[in-house]
């Protein structure tokens, strides 16, 4: 596990942070509309990836159903907008999404973690979650509510987001910049929150949990509770990312499917798990890779992504950020 948050000296880090923030801030002014929307979506997805990294990279719980909570966030907001329309209703929708997600995660976590489910079994059960939600999302019987596999479409999505009377914007078509900056601000807040969490004693205990759960238990820690808490936090953040993605793309049940859920894991693995920054980088990298590959190799690109992923897992499981550490070790041993 690599910690790029301590990469280089303090000064290099500060400079890097400023540079990155500037780049992110200035980007929409130089980029074209297509890319602005794309990057906005990627920002939402990286929040999702970072939230899963809290669970997987730091606590060692690999959830194959994290996208389900993203979907809960999206659908909650979408449905709220569909049936209500007072100013500021978007905020209620987001809160509903996050709350539902946290409650569901807590209940599920209680059952799983007090049952001592972890590791591989946790993967299986979270994977099983995806099927249920996928079926519900696609269910013809609920079509008039959920929209089946088309997802939530309709004029209600052009509801005004933002702060009523002060700063309002609507869905993608109308206001790319507002969408982008909203996503960016949320991303920075979430990142700061996760950074704080990870550096706190709570964060250290999660790492200890991943390292040696038994020892922690024999030191008086109720390990199951810790797992439930981080699971709830991670799922709540996932719902948040789902909610803010509503103005950017159609809310549809694809996010409940195994492919989407597995993709999140791929982004984290490629970028570098257990680093917070890695998942964000991985999301950006993999998504752009897919776009580029799919235009170059129309028939082979999925295959190539699969091969790429296998190679990453076998030869560089610590991902891109882990590569840096490996190189430094190499340089040091040759010096």
């Amino acid at each position: 596990m690599v910690d790029p948050l301590t990469w280089g000296t303090k000064r290099t880090r500060r400079i890097l942070v400023v540079v990155i923030l500037l780049a992110m801030g200035v980007f929409p002014l130089v980029g074209d509309d297509y890319n602005i929307v794309l990057v906005s979506r990627i920002i939402c997805l990286s929040i999702l990836a970072i939230s899963l990294d809290l669970l997987w990279g730091y606590t060692g719980l690999l959830s194959f159903g994290h996208g389900v909570f993203f979907g809960i966030g999206s659908y909650s907001l979408g449905l709220t907008l569909k049936y209500f329309s007072f100013p500021g209703v978007a905020y209620i929708g987001v809160l509903i999404g996050i709350s539902v997600s946290i409650i569901a995660a807590t209940i599920l976590g209680y059952f799983l973690f007090y049952g001592r489910i972890s590791g591989v079994y946790f993967c299986i059960i979270t994977l099983a979650l995806t099927t249920i939600f996928f079926s519900v999302g696609n269910h013809p019987g609920l079509f008039h509510i959920l929209g089946g596999n088309n997802g939530l479409v309709g004029p209600f999505l052009y509801h005004k987001f933002g702060i009523p009377g002060v700063w309002e914007y609507q869905r993608t078509m109308v206001s790319y910049l507002a969408n982008y900056y909203t996503a960016l601000v949320v991303f920075l807040m979430v990142f700061a929150f996760c950074y704080y969490l990870v550096k706190s004693p709570f964060g250290k205990i999660l790492q200890a949990l991943k390292n040696n759960e038994d020892r922690l238990e024999y030191l008086g820690y109720n390990v199951a509770n810790f797992k439930i808490v981080i699971f709830a936090i991670a799922c709540g953040l996932a719902a948040l990312s789902g909610a803010i993605s509503v103005p950017l793309q159609t809310t549809n049940p694809v996010v409940f499917g195994l492919s989407f859920n597995a993709s999140i894991i791929i982004w984290i693995a490629v970028g570098g798990r257990g680093t917070l920054l890695g998942p964000a980088i991985g999301t950006l990298l993999v998504n752009y890779m897919e776009i580029w590959l799919s235009s170059e190799f129309q028939y082979l690109w999925v295959f190539l992504m699969g091969v790429f992923f296998i190679l990453v897992i076998v030869f560089q499981p610590d991902g891109l950020l882990g590569l840096n550490l490996r190189l430094r070790k190499l340089v040091r041993s040759n010096a």
Partner: protein
Amino acid sequence: MASPAIELKNLSKRFGGLQVIDHLDLTIKPGELRCIIGPNGAGKTTLFDLITGRIKPDEGQVIFEGRDITYLKPYNVSRAGIVRKFQIPSVFDELTILENLHIAAHGQQGIGSLIFYRRTETSALDRVNEIMEVIHLSGRGDELVKTLSHGEKQWLEIGMVLSYKPRLILLDEPTAGMSAHDTMETSHIIREISRSMTAVVIEHDIKFLKELAEYVTVLDRGAVLAEGTFQEIEANSLVRDVYLGRGGQ
């Protein structure tokens, strides 16, 4: 000194066809330093498992300071004041020495206080430094535990257990895999520790036992074979037979 620190009453445990612990009775007084010895398979580690709640007995009770802790979960047993040091050093490899000790010190805290924390008070820091001295790891607080030697990891684990401030400490072969020199060091450390708490040690090393043992319990096939001072046990022919005849140790 009236009520015992820990009492095992009629404890029994069966694994499949094997009676691992057989109607075992054991009493340890507060502040004692008790050594438990016995050939391989006598049930020593299982005993610790039963005490700490890792496994449940088929019958019998574990009574700690007058309280029945037989069916408590491990983390509750720890919170009651019992800490265990495992046979194979069980520490947090991926964290630093200081982090290991701090984690050990906070076992009783709620989650909320761990998220919204304040700077550590100096008294806690002093205590950690004290412990690092006792376990001979002063000044190395920021080293990653996985770079430590086997012996140093054992000591760190003892340090973590101390950090926790238990009233009963269970040490499972604390000198396993150590050099003769380190073994002597460890016996000093344990002697230090046992001044402020009750200690139960599972051991094989004769020199160590000679140096340390006040009272010894010999286990064989899940039951108590003999008890006494080290000299008494050494002279006990039954004990000799069990060790030699079984080819143990």
